[in-house]
């Protein structure tokens, strides 16, 4: 069996930098022959995790680390910021009916990550947040 392949990046905060992580993921996935449908879902996981890490972390000169570990069966995405952290349990579940009449339309990232992943672990404290996402590829 092909062993794990691994790609690590430390990203600067510039517009659309999450697309660089996606490009790396795409090359790995194509090399491993992963179905397009799984790759598309992994895009969502990466995009939402990286955007959150930059946007909510409250670092003055933010960097975000991302690591992909992939084999034929599984993709593990690890995203880390060095920001202020948060309590995932305290985040309200978004609901389209309420959003329609609310001024706050956002708040979908965590829900998308939870639904599209096979496992999601959030570790967060005042030193920052680490998100580990498992996505089955079969």
């Amino acid at each position: 069996m092909e062993p794990n392949i691994k790609l690590k990046m430390t990203l600067p905060r510039i517009p659309d930098i999450e697309l660089v992580a996606i490009e790396g993921l795409d090359r790995m996935a194509r090399h491993m022959g992963i179905p397009e449908e799984k790759i598309g879902e992994a895009h969502v996981l990466v995009t939402e995790a990286v955007i959150n890490a930059f946007e909510h972390s409250g670092q003055s000169r933010p960097v975000v680390r991302i690591e992909f570990t992939m084999n034929q069966e599984k993709l593990i995405i690890f995203v880390r910021d060095y920001g202020k952290g948060f309590d995932p349990g305290a985040v309200e579940q978004p609901d389209i009916d309420k959003k329609l009449s609310s001024g706050h339309k956002r708040g979908w990232g965590l829900k998308l990550m939870e639904t599209m992943s096979d496992d999601l672990l959030i570790e967060s404290d005042d030193k920052g947040t680490r998100i580990t996402i498992i996505k089955n590829l079969k």
Binding site: E18, H43, V44, T47, P94, I96, L100, K111
Partner: protein, 115 residues
């Protein structure tokens, strides 16, 4: 690699067709909302969102579509998505957008559904 966001608009009868290309990010979502607003103010209430040339979206960009749906709901309007990539369709579905908007596999089918 996904290209920069761009938006093309076309009017067919009383239907507004907005066609995205590239990454639907925050800026992209804002553009969609403000172009829609312009046409909505002129009385358009039937909209086709053609997303054939977009493969990647983020939830901030898509949240602007909730604004579009809200405004259309206020005057019996209708939004139909066309040409959705599977992962975008799944994103919209998880967000519950298909409770308030339809989807078709092509712009022609979307136009037929509105006719």
């Amino acid at each position: 690699m996904e290209a920069e966001f761009a938006l093309k608009t076309e009017v067919r009868g009383d239907v507004l067709i907005m066609a995205t290309s590239g990454y639907v990010n925050n800026d992209g979502g804002q553009q969609i909302a403000s172009v829609f607003e312009e046409y909505h103010a002129k009385g358009f209430s039937r909209v086709v969102m053609d997303m054939k040339e977009s493969k990647v979206v983020n939830s901030i960009g898509i949240s602007f579509l909730i604004e579009v749906i809200e405004k259309l709901n206020d005057n019996n309007g209708k939004l139909i998505f066309a040409n959705l990539a599977p992962s975008i369709e799944k994103t919209l579905s998880i967000m519950g957008l298909f409770n308030y908007a339809a989807k078709e596999s092509s712009v022609d089918k979307a136009l037929a559904a509105l006719a």
